[in-house]
């Protein structure tokens, strides 16, 4: 792998046995140190990068997590937290000299309260299991990342995960009310709770999406919502992506925030249709699935309005789901889009930029040009409502140089997202994948302001180092003020 990670501490690596023994004294039945057994932990959802961890520890209680972190802190050992290992940005990529702290065994639902409309769960509970715990009472947990059957709430908190419904219902951060977490030195704290606003600084908001760099979450209080009465979808096909994009803009302009609004380009549509036979039209340049939810009367009216808007923008296909089976069939292709595209080439690389929606056509045109330059195919699926684009770059890792080419192509796409006013990542996180692209979006001063947050939580920089920041500066260095008493910069400028 070409990725530069923090220098490996060879003394720590040499001490593997002692470290495993130390951890075993805290978690007797939850330490893995044999090479073969470490292998399943060597990568997460970003499989291009692999690194077996020094040792894996799987605590079962907050107290164990606290003691493990305190012990590692005292010994100066790096720690990488991990949920289910489904991160698409390498957030849980282990370190050769780091302890991998797996939270999967902390998987109990602790409390459900329908007056406060919250579920309190341990971090290893899967996303879908939260809904499973409350659906009998007509509730669900809204954020629905595509890996929801496997991914954990703890990982969702770390990555601020999204999903197809987040335009209407928000990302993880909008649905988490409180956490119990353990800081790098083992201190246990609570942020937020069952109320809605912070008593002081909103540190909870910083923790969600911090990619395991600020602490280890050991309990999460999430908001649960009543399940919508009905959900229906409309399948629309357009002769150009521009027409599809304009249709999306007008739907929102009419005051409609759909529960989901997904676009696929021609290659993605063809791949999905070949894979699952969803009944998609093959003669369109852009396919749009729009889902609305709520009372049946509302769904009826909104679908009629959306169909009208689509017709005005020249939709050549327009089908409203007539029953639940048909709605699910519309989605089947979209939900299988990644594996479907995966059949077109030995490997694919999934990107995750966000752009202002109005720039979509231009971005797709430039991407097609890049595709020709690099000689690699690309298919696009797009959370059209919020501008989150997932280009899938096709390559063959067995062909020398193709992985590097795919990565360079991906980096060009993300730079383009930033250039048109968007961002590097909409929902997958920075991790190691986009780490070195951070300077395209943030200058040094911006990054220093972010990294000082890291220093406030973890001054020794031992939690998940090598992720998010292209370069971790020592905290003492960042703390310096470049203003000294009596010596203001730019002395020639006016003063007040």
């Amino acid at each position: 792998m070409s990725l530069a990670m923090p220098p490996v501490c060879s003394a720590t690596v040499a001490n593997r046995k002692e470290i495993a023994a130390g951890l075993r004294s805290i978690v007797p039945d939850g330490v893995i140190e044999i090479a073969d057994e470490l292998k399943p932990y060597e990568s997460d959802g970003l499989t291009a990068y692999r690194q077996p961890p020094l040792v894996v520890v799987l605590p079962e209680t907050t107290e164990q997590v606290s003691r493990v972190l305190a012990w590692c802190h005292r010994e100066g050992i790096k720690v990488v937290p991990r949920g289910a290992g489904t991160s698409l940005s390498g957030g849980a990529l282990p370190l050769a000299d780091g302890v991998l702290l797996g939270l999967a065994r902390m998987n109990r639902v602790l409390d459900i309260d329908y007056v406060d409309r919250v579920a309190v769960v341990r971090p290893g509970v899967t996303n879908l299991a939260v809904t499973g715990a409350v659906e009998g009472e007509g509730f669900y947990y809204a954020p629905d990342p595509s890996s929801q059957i496997a991914c954990t709430i703890g990982g969702n908190v770390a990555e601020n995960s999204g999903g197809v419904h987040c335009l209407k219902y928000g990302l993880t951060t909008n649905n988490v009310l409180g956490v119990e977490m353990v800081l790098a030195d083992g201190e246990i704290i609570r942020l937020g709770g069952r109320d809605l606003e912070a008593a002081g600084l909103d540190l909870l908001g910083l923790v969600v999406g911090s990619e395991g760099l600020l602490g280890v979450v050991t309990e999460v209080t999430v908001r649960i919502l009543p399940t919508p009465e009905t959900a229906r979808a409309i399948l629309l096909g357009f002769p150009t992506t521009r027409a599809a994009g304009d249709c999306v803009a007008q739907i929102i302009g009419e005051g409609i925030i759909p529960a989901g609004m997904e676009m696929m380009d021609k290659p993605a549509t063809h791949a999905a249709e070949a894979f699952v036979k969803a009944g998609y039209p093959l003669d369109v340049e852009a396919l749009l699935i729009v889902e609305v939810d709520g009372p049946p009367v509302e769904c009826d009216i909104l679908l009629e309005t959306i169909a009208g808007i689509a017709a005005a923008h020249g939709a050549t296909t327009s089908r409203i789901s007539q029953n639940e089976e048909e709605r699910l069939r519309f989605w089947a292709g979209r939900k299988a889009a990644f594996p479907a595209v995966g059949r077109l080439a030995p490997d694919y690389y999934c990107m995750d930029g966000t752009i202002p929606r109005k720039r979509l056509s231009e971005v797709l045109e430039r991407m097609a040009e890049l595709s020709r330059q690099y000689g690699l195919g690309v298919a696009n699926v797009f959370h059209a409502g919020d501008g989150n684009l997932h280009p899938l770059i096709l390559y063959d890792a067995n062909q020398p140089g193709q992985l590097e080419k795919a990565e360079a192509f991906g980096a060009d796409i993300l730079r383009m997202c930033v250039e048109v006013g968007g961002v590097l990542t909409g929902e997958h996180g920075v991790g190691v994948e986009k780490r070195d692209l951070m300077p395209t979006m943030f200058n040094e001063v911006d990054l220093a302001h972010q990294q000082r947050i890291k220093c406030a939580f973890d001054p020794e920089l031992k939690l998940n180092p090598g992720k998010v920041f292209p370069q971790l500066h020592r905290c003492a260095e960042l703390g310096r003020m470049h203003v000294h008493k009596g010596q203001v910069p730019f002395p020639d400028l006016p003063r007040f």
Partner: protein
């Protein structure tokens, strides 16, 4: 030179940056001020120089179909609302002007002040607060450096979510120079259902039942007394007219447990909601507190307040309690007993001097907050003693 109790009005970002740098060097605290509608909140700091941000006003970019608005902080809330209204859009968290609560003229509240104080109204319970809608910002930190964070698109997880911690930071971390907010379509119709005669336990239960139902109310509040007519519980429905019609019918049925349930006319409903939003019923109280707690704890808290002779009303389905009390009552201690936290919003100067304005945090959290504050403002010059 900077000196206490003077007002300085930087004309542009460069001037503001140098002003902050000078303050950091000289140790003179700064109190950033937009329209001044909330200047009476907190402890008066006579050592601070006021930074008048009025030069930082105006809309930078507004793309209705992208649901994104970028403005300068001193833009008046009224101007922002009028602009959005022209496109049938709004700020979902229902911000409001604190001026009148402090006997000040209405209309001076700015969007920067709204974000800095995390001001939200009744729709907070369903649509989220300022923290859920601030997408990005540019600011000058206490280090005298310009930095930016977040983005200008509605979905972004790149880097730490600094917009969250800036929301509600009361200008204590940085002075914003530009902010980007997510906007949403304005509901085409609105309807209020009122249930009369419920005690706090039944009112919170009714609000929970409504909020947990498919009728999806956008707001839920409870007023124990409204002009001598007894308690009234309010549920607000919003959306497309046909949907509101159907849901209103269903909600009346759901709440009709032998209670008196009615749909209110728009004018009455509008004034009741404005009253809830701005704590108007309690505006005459000696001391005004704002308490946040779990809705399930609200009934017992309300009964405790009754026993002490304090007046109160519930918003956010019980998660926010406005409390009007006589000066000696320690509402914070009562709130703590019910696992809530209380902010002292308005009180005579002698009381403000005596008590912390915000609820003290657990020691480890307070220490962490102090380190975060120090990361942005190592010299401690941005409103350091406002909440002391």
């Amino acid at each position: 030179m900077l000196s206490p109790e003077t007002t300085v009005r930087p004309a542009d970002e460069d001037e503001l940056r140098h002003l902050v740098a000078e303050a950091a060097a000289s140790g003179v605290p700064l109190e950033p001020r937009g329209g001044g509608s909330k200047q009476d909140i907190g402890k008066p700091d006579r050592s601070a120089a006021i930074v008048d941000l009025s030069a930082f006003a105006g809309v930078i970019d507004y793309e209705p179909s992208e649901l994104v608005l970028t403005v300068r902080p001193a833009t008046r809330l009224g101007d922002v609302e009028a602009l959005l209204d022209g496109h049938q859009q709004m700020l979902a968290f229902e911000p409001w002007d604190h001026g009148p609560l402090f006997g000040r003229q209405a209309g001076t509240a700015t969007i920067g002040g709204i974000v800095a104080a995390a001001v939200a109204g009744p729709r907070r319970v369903s649509a989220g607060g300022v923290r859920d809608h601030l997408l990005g910002f540019s600011a000058i930190s206490g280090r005298g450096e310009t930095f930016k964070a977040g983005g200008k698109v509605v979905k972004n997880v790149t880097g730490y979510d600094l917009p969250k911690v800036i929301s509600g930071s009361w200008g204590q971390l940085a002075i914003m120079t530009e902010l980007t907010l997510k906007v949403v379509p304005k509901p085409r119709d609105t309807r209020t259902i009122a249930v009369t005669g419920l005690d706090p336990d039944k009112a919170v239960a009714a609000m929970a039942r409504a909020m947990g139902s498919r009728m999806a109310p956008s707001a839920a509040a409870h007023l124990p007394e409204t002009g001598g007519t007894g308690p009234v519980t309010l549920l607000r429905l919003e959306g497309f007219p046909q949907s509101v019609d159907v849901r209103a019918g269903q909600l009346v049925e759901l709440l009709d447990d032998g209670n008196s349930v009615e749909q209110l006319d728009h004018a009455l409903a509008g004034s009741l909601w404005a009253g809830v939003r701005e704590a108007r019923e309690l505006a005459g109280s000696d001391v005004l507190w704002r308490v946040h707690l779990a809705p399930s704890r609200a009934p017992a808290f309300a009964r405790a307040l009754d026993a002490e002779g304090a007046s109160w009303c519930l918003d956010w389905a019980g998660a926010q309690v406005w409390v009007g009390a006589a000066a000696p009552l320690d509402v914070r201690a009562l709130a703590s007993e019910h696992e809530g936290h209380a902010m002292l919003l308005r009180a005579p100067p002698a009381i403000l001097e005596q008590r912390p304005i915000r609820q003290p945090e657990a020691p480890a959290v307070a220490a962490l907050s102090a380190r975060v504050k120090q990361a942005f403002d190592p010299a401690g010059i941005l409103s350091p003693s406002r909440f002391g």
